[in-house]
Subunit: 360 residues, 2 copies
DNA sequence: TTGAAAGCGCTACCAG
DNA sequence: CTGGTAGCGCTTTCAA
């Protein structure tokens, strides 16, 4: 069997309590005893069973993260920064992916609840709040990231998605686009709010909102790039063709651009394209892609900070909302002679948004 | 407080044991009693405390995964397929990242050991075996993925990295390259073996190995793309310049290509470039990148299969090694008029290797 | 079919 | 400073 405190206690002729205290740096232990215990612990390479410990303390020092897709660099980046901060505070992060499937998300969250984690951080793909009320009934603190849910007052860290839509669309208007299309995202808050921002920018510029220029997500589990290509195919079949497109995210924009380029469309001359996410490969694409940076790293850091604050506070604090302001990053896909001077805040080189991909 | 079996037992006037049996589908319970218990469980939304359960059963139904970098699509893909398979078998996956830092890797593995996980799956960035001997002493089964360690006989799932190096280099030779360079990876098995394969292919083709054409990883934690650019700068300063480069991985190749293109080098005419990883954005780059597919999804699936086999077997089985054969994927960055007919197996369109990035 | 007793490995509490 | 007692929430074993 594996070593237990009892074994060490017997070896050394001291009580189990003494071992326990030494291991938790409790002061009430004589120096000599402490040395002997530590020596034996090291010799046996002993580690206390954390499951047993958390059973009695009621705390697991485990935080759960649920994301819809680990392959998306945005969530990978969030996971990374989150994990960095938590590790520094003695918490471990257990990451699970819902594969953008509400049923899997529920299943994964149930698992995490059953394991009595100290807190949950969730980028939810659900559209109903029932699951979150259940979490609240279980008294497990949680922080939503990236996506909010209508009718749910909860801790939240994310970007201002209406501002994302406005910023991107206003930029297209500023460079002279007149017929602006939107390849929209799913029915989550991010998808809906970015589209709202898109419409707001058009309205503000006294441009009409053309329904046919808004392409909805196709049902089914196809690859994002392919969906982008399909959406672009639809747009190019319209008359008159749009001269600017705001895509819900960068993978979608990548697929859309590829299709357009393959059809001989010039970007940005015939068609300007902007995405969202500011992914690390944006500036290496066939046409480097303009994008909106959503501060993935900061989202992770703020979510971690908020989680730790909740865990350290005695009484459950009021839900806090952290909304970050998105930033425009201009690259070749929208670099045209401007129709009028751009008023948006422009970041020439992306620094904060660059995602370092380490060497394997 | 949170609900316990005791509470439900008291409510219903039955014993705790009966509840426990119902929840584990034990047959020895009367139908009527079972119904009553299930009804109350549902009503209270009760879930047994898995920490308590695993304390007595000695099994946690938790598998740990340690990767060097979640942001690298290869590891994200592995994590995804692994998680899919394990979830289907009733195991949860707890993912942690070592950030390519041996000390963090040790710390994370210690955490996982202390939590008494059922098994560990590790893509190690360590160069010594001591940590793994410790894991073995703890009797925790583990599976290495992607990277092996010299002097360690252990379960392993990964690609044949010498074959990766040979395949890539032979392809460059086949399309007529005469002065072939290598931007190599770190001192892990992947880095070393791919370079070995590179040298083997040169030797076999009776080309000399020029030391200056092999660029080593710079020390320090710089971004991969930048390292690729820096390596390319070095290569372009040599006389004569290389006419083909095999890069350890695709992010490195991306940085290298960008630099070369910015210097006015034509790819593939002046310089052919091939990477490894077959990442989903390879075909959307300024020059679509030829690459070697290392079957990330299959690595995850095989590692999961192997892990489950170990967990289900009564006695610890002998270490098993699964070595997958890499596949060449040709794109524009090496598409030249061939000097002689290529003999390598060529996949024109990448199907197996395409990595679906879901819509956020 | 049901349940009482014992204990998994650890820590809180309080007595010495 | 030290350590005994009690018990965290659950399952195993075995008797009724």
């Amino acid at each position: 069997m594996t070593t237990r405190m009892k074994d060490i206690a017997k070896d050394l002729g001291v009580s189990v309590m003494t071992i326990s205290k030494v291991l938790r740096n409790h002061p009430d232990v004589g120096d000599e005893t402490r040395e002997r215990v530590l020596a034996r612990v090291k010799e046996l390479d002993y580690q206390p069973n954390l499951a047993a410990r958390s059973l009695v303390t009621g705390r697991s020092y485990l935080v759960g993260l649920v994301v819809p897709d680990l392959l998306h660099p945005f969530f990978a980046e969030v996971a990374k920064s989150l994990s960095d901060v938590l590790r520094g505070s003695g918490f471990s992060l257990i990451i699970s992916s819902s594969e953008e499937d509400p049923a899997i998300e529920e299943q994964e969250i149930n698992q995490l609840l059953a394991r009595r984690l100290d807190a949950l951080i969730i980028a939810s793909c659900r559209s109903t709040v029932d699951l979150f009320f259940r979490i609240e009934r279980r008294k497990t603190p949680y922080v939503l990231i990236d996506r909010t849910l209508p009718g749910l007052t909860a801790n939240f860290v994310g970007v201002d998605d209406e501002a994302v839509g406005r910023l991107a669309t206003k930029h297209l208007i500023d460079i002279g686009c007149k017929r602006i299309a939107h390849i929209r995202g799913p029915e989550t808050s991010t998808g809906v709010h970015r589209m709202d921002g898109f419409k707001q920018a058009l309205t503000q510029a006294r441009l009409t909102i053309v329904d046919a220029y808004i392409i909805s997500e196709r049902k089914g589990d196809v690859e994002t790039k392919q969906r982008g290509a399909e959406a672009m195919r639809q747009l190019l079949s319209l008359k008159p063709r749009p001269d600017g497109v705001f895509c819900f995210n960068d993978p979608l924009a990548m697929g859309a651009m590829n299709y357009a380029l393959d059809q001989g469309i010039r970007i940005p001359e015939d068609l300007a394209v902007i995405g969202c996410g500011n992914l690390h490969y944006d500036d290496s694409l066939r046409v480097p892609l303009s994008s909106i940076d959503q501060h993935s790293r900061q989202i992770g850091e703020q979510a971690a900070r908020l989680t730790l604050a909740i865990l350290h506070s005695k009484v459950p604090p009021k839900p806090e909302t952290v909304v970050l302001q998105p930033q425009l990053v201009v690259r070749a896909s929208t670099r045209r002679r401007p129709a009028k001077k751009t008023t948006a805040r422009v970041v020439k080189r992306d620094i904060s948004g660059s995602i370092p991909t380490k060497l394997r």
